[in-house]
């Protein structure tokens, strides 16, 4: 699978600065940066599609007794929106970010198992295609929600071929993510450069270690659940037994809860990097945060039963206890983030704005999670819009803000181009207003009793005003995302019209190794022109700048760019 051993700091014809072009080279590449970009690009495109589905849903719910889409179509919309965002957008983007960044951050010239990683991408992309192809079938796409409980999802109640395509698509995409996750984990554990001890890895790489451990532990359970569902669709008698109906829920949620953290940790890691860079200091409480990430990840494997409180067939006390214990590592991480900001010299560039908004917004998602992790409250709000609000505060107000912080932070490194600061700020403020206008009213809707997954409601239900606010918020969100798309398109267009205006190697004065190399990085990440700096801590570039300030190293090596 691999060729001769080479030091990453030597140059040769094979070590060309930029990998050769051509679309076939992209599709068959073993360069982790290209595989990461393919994965993240696919996820972002699918995010736009899933956003359109959400707009249709919010259009349908904007007024009582609306008839924009038929109830059956509405079921397909919320199923494919939820499935798509979880299986095809947030999880793959998180893993793709790891594929791109972890080898760079640990000082390696390549990812472990590059061909397997590429296979992971293609299984994901083909899985997405298969899953979405359900819309082209006569009965339409799958319509039983992202967790698709039997017997609702069996062949008797969901006879459409779209359901079978959904099972195959999710299976393929999940296998792809397991493979890519294993490659990222192995790279962090076994491909670190000399000097890069485990406790010198940047927090983002640590967040990927915790994430990929959860991928290894939890994702096979989804494959088992999908296998059970497929078997049940072939032989309906399987789901005549309560054991397998509840068994399916156990298998599904054993995956379904940790995946929330798979969709959160990498963005938390990205936010940690951004906060440290734009606060001009090391991340506060690095070791405690690393330990809390690992503990948080392990605890997240133990709480799945809180999704099944209302079945009355799980050990409620245990799952409630472990759900509450999650507060401890979460608190340590928040302590680290707040400590970094409070004692730093803040620079309010666009990535920092997204990272700062992440802190209070995710807190709302986290605290309401503690509420629904308590059986007495969960019994009251289960399957209501309160749950919809909670999960969107976790995954959109939290993770998506982390995602955009990551995009704005690493865009110059990945493309060699700077995004427009003005459009970025417009994007940010529209997203803040849109997010809270959309999802905050949903807490109220849940509190007054609106069930989730209903295609309509009567005018006398009293849900009209809050739904209208949420739909207006969705419109603002769409404007915000449009600003982002325009920003990216305009940045590339500007390069074509006016020639390249390259971003510096380290435009923010950041701390980790990826900022020591060129923007974009060369094929093997580090070259004699951009060698690995001495790795003396988890912030080697900050060390270099501090030594330069004290006169220990030449100024030029240490002072490229800076957040200002």
């Amino acid at each position: 699978m691999t060729e001769a051993a080479t030091a990453p700091t030597t140059d040769s014809p094979d070590r060309r600065a930029v990998a050769s072009g051509g679309w076939l080279r992209w599709l068959t590449t073993t360069d982790h940066k290209r595989i990461g970009l393919l994965t993240m690009g696919t996820a972002l495109l699918l995010m736009l599609l899933m956003g359109l589905l959400a707009l249709l849903m919010r259009g349908q719910l904007a007024q009582p007794e609306e008839n924009l889409v038929a109830p059956g179509v509405y079921n397909q919309l919320f199923t494919m929106h939820g499935s798509g965002m979880i299986y095809l957008v947030m999880t793959p983007f998180a893993i793709g970010l790891g594929v791109y960044l972890v080898p760079l951050q640990v000082g390696a010239p390549a990812i472990a198992f590059p061909r397997a990683t590429l296979l992971g991408f293609w299984l994901y992309a083909l899985g997405a295609l298969v899953m979405l192809s359900g819309f082209a079938t006569s009965e339409g796409a799958h319509a039983d929600g992202w967790f698709s409980y039997p017997p609702m999802a069996d062949r008797q109640h969901s006879p459409g071929v779209g359901s079978d395509l959904w099972i195959v698509g999710v299976f393929l995409a999940t296998v792809g993510m397991i493979i890519a996750g294993w490659a990222v984990l192995w790279t962090a554990l076994r491909r670190r450069a000399a000097g890069m001890t485990m406790l010198r890895m940047p927090l983002f790489s640590w967040s990927m270690v915790a994430t990929c451990l959860m991928v290894m532990g939890a994702f096979p359970s989804l494959l088992a659940a999908l296998g059970l569902l497929a078997a049940g669709r072939a032989d309906p008698s399987i789901f005549a037994s309560n054991v397998w109906n509840i068994g399916y829920q156990h298998l599904f949620w054993f995956y379904g809860h940790p995946v929330v953290y798979v969709m959160f940790f990498p963005y938390l890691g990205a936010v940690a990097e951004v906060l440290a860079a734009f606060s001009g200091r090391r991340f506060f409480g690095y070791r405690g945060t690393v330990l809390s990430l690992l503990a948080f990840a392990a605890l997240s494997m133990s709480v799945w039963g809180h999704h099944m409180f209302t079945t009355g067939q799980v050990a409620n006390d245990y799952y409630s206890l472990t759900s509450l214990v999650l507060l401890v590592p979460a608190g340590v991480e928040y302590f680290g983030m707040v400590g970094t900001v409070l004692t730093g010299r803040l620079v309010f560039r666009v990535p920092m704005l997204f990272a700062l908004a992440f802190i209070p917004q995710f807190l709302i998602g986290g605290l309401t999670g503690i509420m629904v992790g308590t059986p007495v409250i969960d019994y009251h709000v289960t399957d209501s819009y309160f749950i919809v609000a909670h999960l969107h505060y976790v995954l959109f107000a939290g993770s998506a803000f982390g995602l955009f912080a990551a995009v704005y932070f690493w865009f110059p490194k990945v493309t060699g181009l700077m995004l427009s600061e003005r459009l970025g700020r417009i994007h940010f403020w529209l997203l803040v207003v849109g997010t809270n206008l959309t999802f905050l009213p949903m807490f109220g809707l849940g509190y007054v009793g609106m069930p989730r997954r209903v295609a309509s409601y009567a005018s006398f239900d009293g849900f009209g005003l809050l739904n209208l606010l949420a739909s207006c918020g969705a419109g603002v969100l769409a404007l915000g995302v449009t600003a982002f798309v325009v920003n990216v398109a305009w940045t590339f267009r500007k390069r074509t019209l006016r020639g390249p205006s390259p971003a510096p190697d380290d435009p923010w004065g950041a701390h980790a190794l990826e900022w020591a190399t060129s923007s974009p990085p060369p094929r093997l990440n580090f070259t004699p022109r951009h060698p690995l700096p001495p790795i003396t801590s988890n912030a080697p570039l900050l060390d270099l700048r501090q030594r330069a300030a004290s006169g220990a190293v030449p100024e030029g090596r240490a002072s490229e760019g800076g957040a200002s």
Binding site: T30, A110, L119, L189, A193, H250, L251, S302, A315
Partner: protein
């Protein structure tokens, strides 16, 4: 063991899962849960063992690397073959007639390109 910190991380993480499972046993759960989570703990310890074996065979940190010398030209037909195999569940197993040649083609490409000159 401190010479193999990567192993310690994976093994300890798996063991912590085992401890949480043991606490769950105090509360009581269905047998499926013990098999499921117990199997995962075993899987994680196997992964830890793989990390340990790799650590024993090579350095903890690297100055030289084995690098990917060729593109993954066999990967795309392999992925398409696997996807078609999956579609056999939906549209019928006659699709094996498409999937098997594709997977064979991927194997062949992997073997041929595996011996050839690097393309990337």
């Amino acid at each position: 063991m401190t010479r193999h910190p990567a192993f310690v991380v994976v093994a300890a993480w798996g063991l912590f899962n085992g401890v949480l499972l043991a606490v769950l046993a105090v509360y009581g759960e269905s047998s499926l849960v013990y098999w499921l989570w117990g199997g995962v703990v075993a899987l994680l310890e196997l992964a830890a063992l793989a990390v340990l074996l790799s650590s024993l065979a090579g350095p903890e940190q690297h100055v030289g690397y084995r690098l990917p010398g060729r593109g993954g030209v066999a990967v795309l037909p392999a992925a398409v073959g696997l996807a078609v195999l999956g579609l056999g569940f939906v549209h019928g197993w006659w699709l094996l007639a498409v999937a098997v040649p594709l997977l064979g083609c991927a194997l062949l490409l992997g073997a041929v390109r595996g011996r050839g000159a690097g393309d990337e």
